[in-house]
């Protein structure tokens, strides 16, 4: 790419950024706004009158069972449950499992309709299914019930994109809960290396511009190339005792590769549903921009550790912790582990910023939602807990223990904004785009995409062939049409 092209691209991207601004094309509809207004009204009526102790009286002695992910977001509240128990006399029991096992238990429980759980954490990708199947219940009835609504619920705290894609489903959309775990993708880079004078000088010599946080993927590619070194060469003045790489990518047949690549597809060709479907749910996964983005992603593996063809997110952060990679697109919530000096050799040496922009500013996010199952035995008590655990006060306490915030109030608090990666996270949320989670078929669609992404970077087929194949298989699942029909 010539320099003029870069300038051109930068101008275009700036213009686009100004034109579309943030990902706010999804404002509340009048119905939704009416519901929110009504809830606010009730909340203000309740101010000074309502108390949790009083509201919980009918449910004293009840035990709530919660099915949650094995994540810090679920560990943190458990430290404060005793406060809730003391105030309400409602007991709380948590069961936590990692993602796959969690999903198995969740669907089995829903299918059997046992009513064992009163609250369930539902992954982003399953919200359309569990709401569509009626496994969980909308919470608007609780929000409009004066007996149950906490005046300090502060619904304005949730950014629209985040809350809407996380918890509002159905036609017309209804809220099913609140975000409980909301990772967003940001750029990780080794600030110490980027700031190193020798490296800066060398970089300038080769590429004729300053070494800085990459603003687009041309620069990203340069920097990745620049920092890829062999054992024995020097890096920031030190002789390397092992190979070092410019970038760390996830190539495993796993959602990790899907989520990572989707950022590229979105910034190349626009972020609607991660560049997979258009507004009518017609398949655009094989559009020319995506093919280009996939070719780019594959070419970048030259500067990524050879083992990264088998990485998912955990190994990516391990590679940072062990100081063998300079940059990556990664989940913000894993940054905690990178900044932990007990586990990481690069704690304090990291920088975080927005994902470079090819054309559109993007950040892929995936969120989980609290939900109350339709068969739950104690829905009212469950709502009271849900409301309490998401209150500003508890949310802030949890965030201080390492739970990723979702409320603006928490993001803006001085303690939280002082955490190195939080400013980048907050900015990223403005450009956050979801994957096509509104389609219940997405689970299978994602599996197919993961398979063909690995086939493409394994060079078993070209980028075009791989994405064409995905398009055809998706069409079979969705029954919609393909915007760019495959040529063969």
């Amino acid at each position: 790419m010539k320099k003029s092209t870069i300038v051109y691209l930068m101008v275009v991207s700036l213009a686009v950024a100004l034109a579309f601004g943030t990902f706010t094309a999804h404002a509340w509809t009048p119905d939704e706004q009416a519901l929110l207004d009504k809830a606010k009204e009730i909340a203000s009526d309740n101010a000074g009158v309502w108390s949790l102790e009083e509201a919980a009286k009918p449910y004293r002695g009840v035990t709530l069972k919660i099915l949650a992910d094995a994540a810090t977001e679920a560990d943190a509240p458990q430290n404060y449950d005793s406060e809730f128990i003391k105030m309400t006399g409602i007991k709380v029991l948590w069961e936590q499992n990692p993602w796959d096992e969690h999903r198995s238990k969740m669907f089995m429980d829903f299918a059997a309709g046992t009513g064992i759980y009163d609250l369930v954490w539902v992954p982003f990708d399953d919200m359309a299914s569990v709401t569509g199947k009626g496994y969980v219940q909308p919470v608007d009835k609780f929000m409009l019930n004066p007996k149950l609504l906490d005046p300090n619920i502060n619904l304005d705290d949730y950014s629209e994109a985040l809350w809407k894609y996380t918890s509002w489903y159905g036609k017309p959309a209804k809220p099913y809960g609140f975000p409980c775990e909301n990772p967003t993708m940001i750029l990780w880079y080794r600030k110490d290396l980027f700031d190193n004078p020798t490296e800066k000088a060398n970089f300038k010599k080769t590429y004729r511009y300053e070494l800085q946080v990459p603003k687009n993927f041309e620069q990203y590619n340069h920097i990745a190339e620049f920092f890829t070194r062999k054992k024995g060469e020097r890096l920031a003045g030190e002789v390397l005792d092992r190979d070092f790489y410019g970038v760390g990518q996830s190539g495993k047949r796993h959602w990790a590769s899907v989520c990572e690549w989707m950022n590229l597809a979105s910034t190349w060709g626009g972020p609607t549903w991660g560049g997979t479907l258009d507004e009518n749910d017609d398949v655009v996964i094989n559009r020319p921009e995506n093919v280009e983005a996939l070719e780019y992603w594959i070419s970048l593996f030259r500067f990524s550790p050879p083992g990264s063809v088998d990485w998912y997110w955990d190994l990516k952060s391990t590679a940072f912790q062990k100081n063998i990679v300079a940059m990556a697109l990664a989940w913000n919530d894993q940054s905690y582990e990178i900044e932990d000096p007990e586990k990481s050799e690069v704690a304090g040496k990291m920088g975080y910023d927005l994902i470079p922009i090819q054309k559109y500013p993007v950040s892929h996010f995936g969120s989980w939602s609290w939900t109350i199952p339709t068969k739950a035995k104690n829905p009212d008590a469950a709502w009271l807990y849900l409301q309490w655990v998401n209150s500003r006060d508890i949310a802030l306490k949890c965030a201080l223990e390492g739970a990723m915030p979702s409320r603006k109030y928490v993001f803006d608090s001085p303690e939280i904004s002082a955490i190195p990666f939080m400013p980048a996270t907050k900015k990223a949320l403005d450009h956050a785009f979801p994957r096509p989670v509104h389609r219940p078929e997405w689970g299978e669609m994602g599996e197919i995409l993961a398979l063909y992404l690995t086939k493409a970077h394994r060079m078993e087929m070209t980028a075009q062939e791989a994405l064409d194949k995905v398009a055809v298989e998706w069409q079979r699942l969705l029954g919609t049409s393909i915007v760019h029909p495959p040529k063969t």
């Binding site: 955990d314 007990e342 586990k343």
Partner: protein
């Protein structure tokens, strides 16, 4: 005289060669386990050190975090209760059934025996979902007895298969003689047959224990808080933030110990009993 000496030394040479091959294979089998043991005493940064550190500052944090701070001591107790009971139950029921197959005329016996074997061929995914539904209807979900039952069942086929071999091995004349002496069926079994099949029981128990101790899928989907077993706890160490490798290693070591102790203790029986009564003199 000289000739034999040469021969002996050559034979010794081959002998040593063969033994070192054996030693090498055994080493290959054991080495990964030793590596896990080492790993369980390492910090996260030491675990990923290349070249691997053989000398490092050993820490007990992984054990402490898993078993004292974490829930693994509870899981360990659950595993002990569930696996010993299910083993006992499988042996009891399975031995009776095997005795029946060996000594009694059963209508459709071959077919029934075959049916029992098929339960072992069945991939666990086949029955996972329906079992969950049955369990939640019958209130067996998340109970010790529930897991005991399912572990008993998947071990049953193996027990019956092995034990039938042992019973077949025992000459029918023993029964007949005892019967002529006027002993009851129960006495015949208890006094004459049972002592002869004891090694078989030890072996079968050993296999049941191994399979039950390590079983994952059923224990995962059928438990929740109260009856969670050790293997089910392991993936909980893989969190969205990262994996606690050290704790995985620590739990891995602890999981192995009871079975290992059992194997060393009953070593003699194991070797003898494993013949399944299959070889005749």
């Amino acid at each position: 005289m000289k000739k034999t000496k040469v021969l002996t030394s050559r034979r010794q040479f081959i002998e040593i060669g063969l033994l070192s091959v054996a030693a090498f294979i055994v080493f290959l089998e054991v080495a990964p386990f030793l590596w896990i043991v080492l790993m369980s005493f390492k910090s996260r940064l030491d675990i990923f050190e290349i070249p691997p550190k053989l000398i490092f500052n050993p820490i007990l944090d992984n054990y402490y975090n898993a078993f004292v701070e974490g829930p693994f001591s509870k899981y360990l107790i659950n595993s002990l209760i569930i696996d010993s009971s299910s083993t006992a139950l499988a042996i009891l029921i399975g031995t009776l059934a095997a005795y029946a197959f060996s000594r009694f005329k059963i209508w459709g016996g071959k077919q029934i025996f075959f049916y029992i074997l098929t339960t072992r061929m069945c991939p666990p995914v086949v029955v996972a979902l329906p079992l969950f539904m049955i369990y939640s209807k019958l209130k067996l979900y998340d109970t010790h007895i529930g897991v005991i039952l399912i572990h008993t069942i998947f071990n049953l086929a193996l027990v019956i298969w092995l034990m039938r071999g042992f019973f077949d091995e025992i000459p029918q004349e023993i029964d007949q003689a005892a019967m002529i002496d006027g002993h009851s069926e129960w006495t015949i079994f208890r006094k004459f047959i049972f002592p002869l099949v004891l090694p078989g029981i030890v072996v079968s128990a050993m296999f049941c224990l191994v399979f039950s101790w390590n079983e994952f899928l059923f224990a995962l989907i059928l438990t929740q808080f109260d009856a969670t077993t050790l293997p089910v706890g392991v993936p909980q160490l893989v969190t969205s933030r990262g994996t606690y490798w050290g704790q995985v290693a620590a739990v891995g070591v602890v999981i192995t110990l009871p079975v290992l102790i059992f194997a060393v203790t009953f070593h003699r029986y194991l070797i003898r009993g494993l013949t399944f009564g299959a070889i005749k003199t």
